[in-house]
């Protein structure tokens, strides 16, 4: 009998032992789900750190007297620099509007004047300037007087994804020099401390990822392996009889191997389906103010690895169990 037929028989024979098969499938699915959940957490923590903190941000200030046409040309050039994630630009006018809006939000709103407020009180709040003219005091909410005296320079907030393999600090030093050398640029600041912290976090996550992956792989291997071995007890008589009638080891093991592979594959695919439900639920739970955490599903390669690893472990465990 060919190996293919033996494998097919192994799969067909699964229906003969529905309860042990079902119990094994549930166990494989739950263990793979546990491992998948761990991977999901790791992946999302890393994504969140990368998204929120791991970008190099440069605030570039041009001279207030710069020609805006030249500056705008430079902004357009900046957007084409490799690795640029985002460029937010502020003309002096836009910067002033932003400042006004920011201040307006920062200063508490003034209470509405009472109808019986006295003129004396009103005069007391006014200011008298050198030529004796009295000007009305501006309302804390009315900052329009600033717009006529715009002292703000054109600025740009440029965010970069640090190229893979580059050490953040030297790279940032080079980029700082490049931005600083742009014509008309007066000052450049950047988030070195924040980036350093983020880099530290990412390094920590990556360091934790390997032990976690090994741990999950071990859990999957041990639990799935032992569960399949237990399932094989249900087929012990069959193995014994096959051996008694002169079956070669491969004749006995191939169907059991196929059984294990199917269990591992179906169990891990089911676990991914469950994981998708879990991710959707977590997303709806966490993507609300003030968290706004968008829980992402595992990337394709991790999903594939989970299915592949579980299938291999299950097949191997069934094979070994049959040997014993």
């Amino acid at each position: 009998m060919s190996t293919g037929k033996l494998m097919a028989r192994g799969v067909a024979d699964m229906r003969r032992f529905p309860l042990p098969q079902l119990c094994t499938l549930v166990t494989v699915c739950m263990v793979a789900l546990l491992a998948g959940t761990g991977l999901l957490i790791l992946h999302n923590v890393q994504q969140e750190v990368l998204k929120t903190q791991a970008q190099a941000r440069f605030q570039v200030y041009w001279s207030a007297s710069s020609n805006m046409t030249d500056v705008e040309t430079q902004w357009a050039d900046l957007k084409r620099v490799p690795g640029v994630a985002e460029v937010s630009t502020f003309t002096p006018r836009a910067a002033m509007a932003e400042l006004v809006r920011g201040l307006a939000n920062a200063i508490p709103a003034a209470p509405a004047p009472a109808e019986n407020a006295t003129a004396a009180n009103a005069t007391a709040d006014n200011a008298t300037i050198a030529d004796g003219t009295t000007v009305p005091a501006p309302s804390p909410n009315d900052l329009s007087w600033l717009e006529g005296e715009n002292f703000l320079p054109p600025t740009a907030l440029v965010s970069f994804d640090i190229p893979p393999g580059e050490a953040p600090e030297p790279w940032m030093g080079r980029m700082y020099a490049r931005l600083h050398n742009l014509p008309g640029v007066e000052k450049v600041t950047y988030n070195a401390a924040q980036l350093s912290l983020a880099t530290g976090w990412i390094a920590l996550i990556q360091q934790a990822a390997w032990p976690a992956l090994i741990f999950f792989a071990l859990v999957v291997a041990l639990v799935v392996g032992n569960t399949l071995k237990l399932m094989m007890l249900a087929r012990r008589d069959e193995m014994e009889i096959l051996s008694l009638v002169g079956a070669k080891p491969w004749f006995i093991r191939a169907p059991l191997f196929a059984n294990g592979v199917v269990q591992g594959f179906v169990g891990s695919v089911l676990s991914l389906v469950c994981l998708k439900f879990l991710q959707t639920w977590l997303r709806s739970l966490l993507d609300v103010p003030p968290l706004f955490l968008k829980v992402e599903f595992l990337p394709a390669w991790q999903s594939f690895s989970l299915v592949f690893a579980t299938t291999c472990v299950a097949g191997l465990a069934a094979f070994i169990a049959a040997r014993k």
Partner: protein, 235 residues
Amino acid sequence: MVHLDHVTCILGGTQALNDVSLHVDRGEFVFLTGPSGAGKTTLLRVLYGDLKPKGGSAVVAGVDLMRLRSSGLPELRRKVAVVFQDFKVLPERTVFENISIALEVRGVPSASIDRRVRAVIRALDLEERSYALCRELSGGEQQRVAIARSMVVNPELILADEPTGNLDADLSRHLIDLFKQFNTYGTTIIMATHNREVLSWAPEARQVHLVRGQISLPTAEILSGAECVAARRGA
């Protein structure tokens, strides 16, 4: 067919077989008798390679058991079929599947399997139950399935360990007749039993008596079957 010389076997720390020598020729019918615990089952287990002897020399169907590795076990078991008291059939498979499995492991083509299995099923009067699951069969029918499985491959040697132990007298008689019938076709049969009635149904068979792991009758130890028959005739 069977050549055991001074075979010893230790099982669970006790000497289950002690200096056993036994020679069985092709086509012989041999009863292994003796009380429970005498070593009958142990001797059969040695013969089908389930236990490795500790000492002595043992050759069964041309296979040297002292040098037998696990990879060589299928070769031995394709020559030696075994029937057990507890039948050892697969309850969730049909009669046909239980019998055909012995041919499938040998790689026999399916057309040939079908023909041979049907022939054996007919010979053992199991035609009506061909596609019944074995768990639905009576004890006698299950034992016939086990015998059919061992006979369908036309083995050189059949080992039977108390095959009538769970059956009533009529069924036991019928099974012994079946074994005798296959024996007349040239199959060597070694059957362990402690049932004297069974022994009386095959008086021509040689009897080898085991007590405490040793063969107690010197004639059985020394003489082969042919010599034994000649000795009987002389007597």
